[in-house]
Symmetry: C2
Subunit: 444 residues, 2 copies
């Protein structure tokens, strides 16, 4: 109730609770039972948050009243054992009988900023191109807040729970044709339908929109944790890997990789190849970034002699590395970085330009981040097929630097430049995006 | 000069520069040449920062004056090509002739808080148990500052540069018998001596002190970046891996892994096995942490029935996971975490207890971090062989949370509890520490 009020949900809300019958909650009249609700109201969604044992009855009453959907927030079902499984069967029977569809149980429900519904407080009521389907309410929350930091918003987020009726394949199909959704992302612990059907639907989807899947419960103990969490069997991660390569699905390993991969699809063009130019400060860091890029599948080829000579015209060779990776010693200011990027933009074999720039190391009153970042963005031509990638790895531990760092992050994203916290993160994402591009090119 | 003054270096300093002869720099008289220095002064160290081509002459003059060591800051030697190699040969000839030893060239020199010498500004003048030998001046800097964040300090840090005379094996041998050093860490790009000699010295060292090596320049482009950086050939990473397993060296992949591994040795007991208990908030995160631990070699076994029953006495089963990983839904406050840890301390097969606690999510005036963290620390007995590991992964983007997060970090470390930013980071480190323990047990 509080969240719906917080978001100014525009439709009517009917709280039902026998204990408060006739009273008001947040200015809305409380009903004592579902049957006592007015007969002529069309109920789109019933949200059920009562102990599990009472839910079959509530579902039946909602269905009898003509409600279309029930979201069951309550937990205490198959994730706890046999008794809970029986309750789930009862829920399904009541739902079939009364033609109501169930989301859950054991889930947070729906976040839909366009409809002004959210499952928690302080979620941004801003539409974006990302759909997220989650078998964890916790991850459904985390992703919404992480998106703000990464510069994107969601069309819808749905927390699936035990999927006794509506399942992730239903949502996959829905988001495939949802005009508000450009990227579909998921946290999955286990499937309720046959793998073949899922594979078929994934193939239909990935040719239109990328599908990013984080599979939870990969090995032995992870599998067992899934059982305690949502009552399902997690299945072998090898199967998921093979499924991903057949369907063009982008598989990621954890929350961090998920939010970075979504960001990558939104901010980057699909690269033609893996060739990367690296511009950084310090010889050791140049070696490290090169190692990390290579370890995760990118290539760091030399640039042409011609381009090297152009760079030598304004950067002295002593204490510099000038063939890729690039390191300019004391000459590594933002103007020279932008100048080198303009030269690299003409190097046709390079598809990503990675730069490290940590503005908080040089705080000054003259620091014009707006101008510096715009200069970076303008250093490649508007029709360039290259991606500019910013690496920023300073800790935000020093309170004095937070404002500079946060301003740098937002300016960078506003100017269409993606920021990662490590070369490893960048390399994994760019490699995965390239693989998806390859899949699209090679599918029949 | 500025840095030596900043650190109140207690010995006499003699600036030499013909341009400022007779003048004063920071209150110290400047000499016009080395030969014009007083004859009776014992010179411990000459720091040379003039263009490369003048350095052989300066080294000779210093040697003639009886100086013991010269640190050559200047760059422009073998890292640039043939001409630079010739210069290095000249340096060596002059050094042999005059019995002076050379550190560098192309390096930052020495940081030694006990002697109040540092190669840069604002370095902490605090002694600690860690030695770091670095073939990158940039990494030598980074590690000193990162140590502050991770709760440890250094005995000495040395930036090696091109190692034409004193090399990393010399420093390895020195630190083996240095009473101020308990852990030896390195950033290495290439060896100057035979691999066999290095292996022999490593074996001698690891039985007394752990040696943590970050090898830079692993694959093709990384190798080539090393050549531009320090003029050496990086060599095959497979050789380094096999060398590490023969010698008990702890090999890490990047800067982050290096500083976390040092911290792990300092804050953790060497674990007897890989069995880990995980306490976290949220079912999805519980699955994720378990996956990450397993992916990087740890195990997450069930606890005994007895312990499970003890936990059930104060935490209800609905919406909880109670057998490992642990997740307590709304009952996951710090008191219950500490209570469960006390029960886990009696589970003999578990050697690590990992907890996630993010105090900035529950800011309040009553939040007594001191007490909470002390409670965590006291939840295992003083003679327990278990490690408590704290995972804290919130971003510090919100300025309002910085103080809480920083207080939590320092309180945690002060109470001897290590903090990592992810289960992946923790799992890698604990696994590596266990491997080192295994090496020590199994060596003849």
């Amino acid at each position: 109730m509080e969240a719906l009020k917080e978001y100014d949900y525009p439709g009517p809300i009917y709280p039902v609770n026998p204990k408060y019958e006739g009273e008001e909650i947040q200015g809305v009249k409380v009903y004592g039972s579902i049957s006592s609700l007015p007969d002529d109201i069309p109920i789109d969604l019933g949200i059920i948050a009562v102990p599990a044992k009472f839910t079959p009855q509530i579902v039946e009453e909602l269905g009898d009243k003509g409600a279309l959907f029930a979201h069951i927030f309550s937990s205490g079902y198959s994730e706890l054992g046999e008794e809970g499984k029986l309750l789930e069967q009862q829920l399904l029977e009541k739902a079939k009988k009364t033609h109501i569809r169930i989301l859950g149980p054991n889930c947070m429900g729906i976040y839909n900023p366009k409809s002004r519904i959210g499952f928690s407080h302080r979620l941004p009521m801003v539409n974006g191109p990302v759909a997220f389907i989650s078998q964890s309410g916790g991850n459904a929350h985390r992703v919404a807040f992480a998106g703000i930091m990464k510069g994107y918003y969601f069309s819808k987020i749905v927390s699936l729970g035990n999927q006794i009726d509506i399942d992730l394949v239903d949502f996959l199909n829905y988001f495939r044709s949802d005009p508000d959704t450009e990227v579909i992302s998921m946290y999955i612990e286990n499937l309720k339908r046959s793998g073949n059907e899922f594979v078929q639907q994934l193939k239909e989807t990935t040719k239109e929109k990328p599908v990013i899947i984080w599979k939870g419960g990969k090995l032995e103990a992870g599998n067992s944790a899934v059982k305690s969490h949502t009552g399902g069997l997690a299945g072998n991660i090898k199967l998921w890997e093979s499924m991903a390569s057949q369907t063009g699905v982008i598989l990621v390993n954890n929350f961090k990789e998920l939010i970075e991969m979504i960001q990558t699809y939104i901010y980057c063009k699909i690269p033609n190849n893996l060739d990367t130019a690296l511009i950084t400060g310090g010889g050791g860091p140049a070696v490290e970034l090169t190692d990390e890029c290579e370890a995760f599948g990118l290539k760091v080829p030399k640039i042409t002699e011609k381009a090297q000579n152009m760079i030598k015209e304004f950067i002295p060779e002593v204490n510099s590395i000038l063939s890729n990776p690039f390191e300019f010693g004391a000459n590594g200011g933002p103007e020279n970085i932008a100048k080198v990027m303009r030269i690299l933009d003409k190097e046709t074999h390079i598809s990503s330009i990675m730069i490290t720039y940590n503005p908080e190391w040089y705080p000054s009153e003259d620091l014009n981040l707006e101008e510096i970042v715009k200069n970076f963005a303008k250093s490649i031509s508007p029709d360039s097929k290259k991606n500019i990638i910013s690496l920023h790895n300073s800790s935000r531990a020093r309170k004095e630097s937070i404002d500079i760092i946060n301003e740098f992050y937002s300016k960078t994203l506003e100017n269409g430049i993606i920021v990662y916290d490590s070369a490893q993160a960048a390399a994994k994402c760019i490699h995965r995006l390239w693989s998806y591009g390859n899949y699209l090119k090679n599918r029949i």
